[in-house]
Symmetry: C3
Subunit: 262 residues, 3 copies
């Protein structure tokens, strides 16, 4: 059942996929360090002049709309075009999708670019599926169960794997659904921890052919690292370094053993 978790951990470390990130300004450093800790090779660029070329060179593309600007949108669309032309998977993180009219518009436009995977919190997935406003800024105000129905509908409509992360994480392609019980509340007390998870999903999508398994496996591995980090951390500050330490030392068999995927 969790053989793909071991496989993903090991293949990311062995194949060191290049992951191109068009991401937000708060998430850049943590995303890069999470990718490196897992064994992947990150590159960050939102320049329209090269974003398409980088996406095509990479094993996967991650697009995160946390700090949205016109220039960023231009770069993200060039990157998506590059990834699609090259047949590379791309992952959308619709940060704060329901928070403002501008975000709703850009999220819908990016969704039309056919991401293979979408990861958000409950408010974001609800906003993406229903076009509704919601959430408190970039933080969710809804439980992930509340978003399960929206996730299934969105997965079917967008032909994408959709992940709703929260106390329990849900990953669905509209027909098959995984629930992952790994993780720790300190993740919610670390800025950009969700964004960095999306980056990690990108690395897994670059090495595993099944996007549902790549998404569920990356979420489980990240949650396991968080559980181990929480044992060592003295609070939300020291948790970040401990998370990277734990992710960097996680091996495939341990990940498969500790994964709680149903």
């Amino acid at each position: 059942m969790t053989g793909f978790v071991a496989e993903g951990v090991e293949r990311v470390r062995r194949e060191a996929p290049l992951v191109h990130n068009v991401t937000n300004l708060v998430a850049m450093t943590l995303s890069a360090n999470v990718l490196i800790a897992a064994g992947a090779s990150p590159i960050m660029s939102a320049a329209p002049e090269e974003a398409g070329e980088l996406a095509a060179l990479s094993g996967a593309l991650v697009v995160n709309m946390g700090t949205l600007t016109r220039d960023w949108v231009e770069g993200a669309e060039a990157a998506v075009a590059g990834a699609r032309t090259a047949g590379k998977p791309w992952v959308l993180d619709p940060v704060g999708a329901g928070a403002t009219a501008y975000r709703r518009e850009i999220a819908a436009r990016l969704l039309a670019g056919r991401p293979r995977i979408v990861r958000g919190n409950a408010s974001e997935i609800l906003a993406l599926e229903r076009g509704a406003s919601g959430g408190k800024g970039v933080d969710s105000t809804a439980g992930s169960d509340a978003a399960a129905e929206a996730a299934m509908a969105l997965a079917s409509r967008a032909r994408a794997v959709v992940a709703v992360t929260g106390a329990v994480d849900l990953v669905t392609d509209g027909s098959r659904t995984f629930r992952i019980a790994n993780g720790h509340p300190l993740l919610t007390r670390t800025t950009a921890s969700g964004c960095a998870l999306t980056a990690l999903i990108g690395a897994w999508a670059a090495v595993l052919p099944d996007p549902l398994e790549a998404t569920a496996g990356a979420i489980a591995a990240y949650g396991i690292a968080a559980e181990r980090a929480a044992e060592i951390a003295q609070g939300c500050g020291s948790f970040v370094a401990a998370l990277l330490d734990a992710l960097g030392s996680l091996d495939g068999p341990t990940a498969a053993r500790l994964a709680r995927i149903a």
Copy 2:
């Protein structure tokens, strides 16, 4: 005397105010993590398309001109307009205000947008009040006492609470003045620690009605966390995580007891 310190710590944690930050590229991650550690909910965006809407949705707005660009100025002005229309308090951090002609111009323009609170180091407050150049880049070359007179004049002229942070911090509204003796020199060895304090003042301004108390209380709480972090830290690197850990575990009664406000 320090009852408002306990009240602020507890209300930020309980009410979890949304704080919108139009801030600089160096300060984003630390500011977000300081807000989260204290219990607030940060959002970061400088896009003119949504900055006004986000400021209106938030409990407070924080504008920090550390890495100044034309696009950022446009976003900051949209955010300030949104905050003013919605009657939300906003806090100005005039980073490096005296360092260049461009900074002097933008600082003056932002000040005309009527911030409720201004926090800077001595060089910045002197530059803001006297239109003079000074400081060494973004670091102060003047003591905070030297800036006390300028702070009082600026507070009266701008009808704002003005905080000058340094070895001893001074907070004034032009008539009442607090001096806060909490803090630790390791704060000066951490990039963006002042910027992150300004973000925290934003969270306090969202929950406490008196901006003088909100400013003094946030400065005291942050200084107390720094004192505790310095006991644990091995140097300027490990200090950052320890600061967030300490801020995350600070409770109201402890903060009130340790606050050195005169």
Copy 3:
């Protein structure tokens, strides 16, 4: 032989040079904290309106093309012009120089601005000298020995000191060459650790008259701090704080004693 290492460590701490950084979005925080830990005073700005003025005010300028955009290029060119007019040394970090056509074009344009020092990994220096593509995104796919010939040629052609960092670091001005054996593999598992080293070279170039010694000394000091940090760190996450702690407590005689420069 390593007297200049002691001198550099001590003079950066005593003179606290202002170092202006036009750098990338991932590297900003770490670069600033590395500069502060070493005793320098960082400023970060890529605004064309002030970049030239800041470069002229500073002891040195560092230009890092990690996250390249049109606006950034405009700011970098203004900063370079300011540094040149004021006779200040400037250091180029050609991140991912061979990764895309856009990067090759901008790297060549910046090189024409006559940096005093260039620091890159083997793939970047090869790309800069031969105009060739290469590297895997921003990570090197070549050893530093492979790039030694290219470094000598580039140093002669550009009349600059060229540093190729890797398992063993090479620094050359085309006639004299140093090899530095300090460092630790955990540096390769920390995003922007090379960028932050380039920033540190800027601080050394501001205080030492010989750019070859400034470059070799900064690389040795940084490598020594990394060695000490690796003894304490539990992995790639806790390494970052330990690196800053070690850099902050490094004194001149210790650095001279531990430097492995040939």
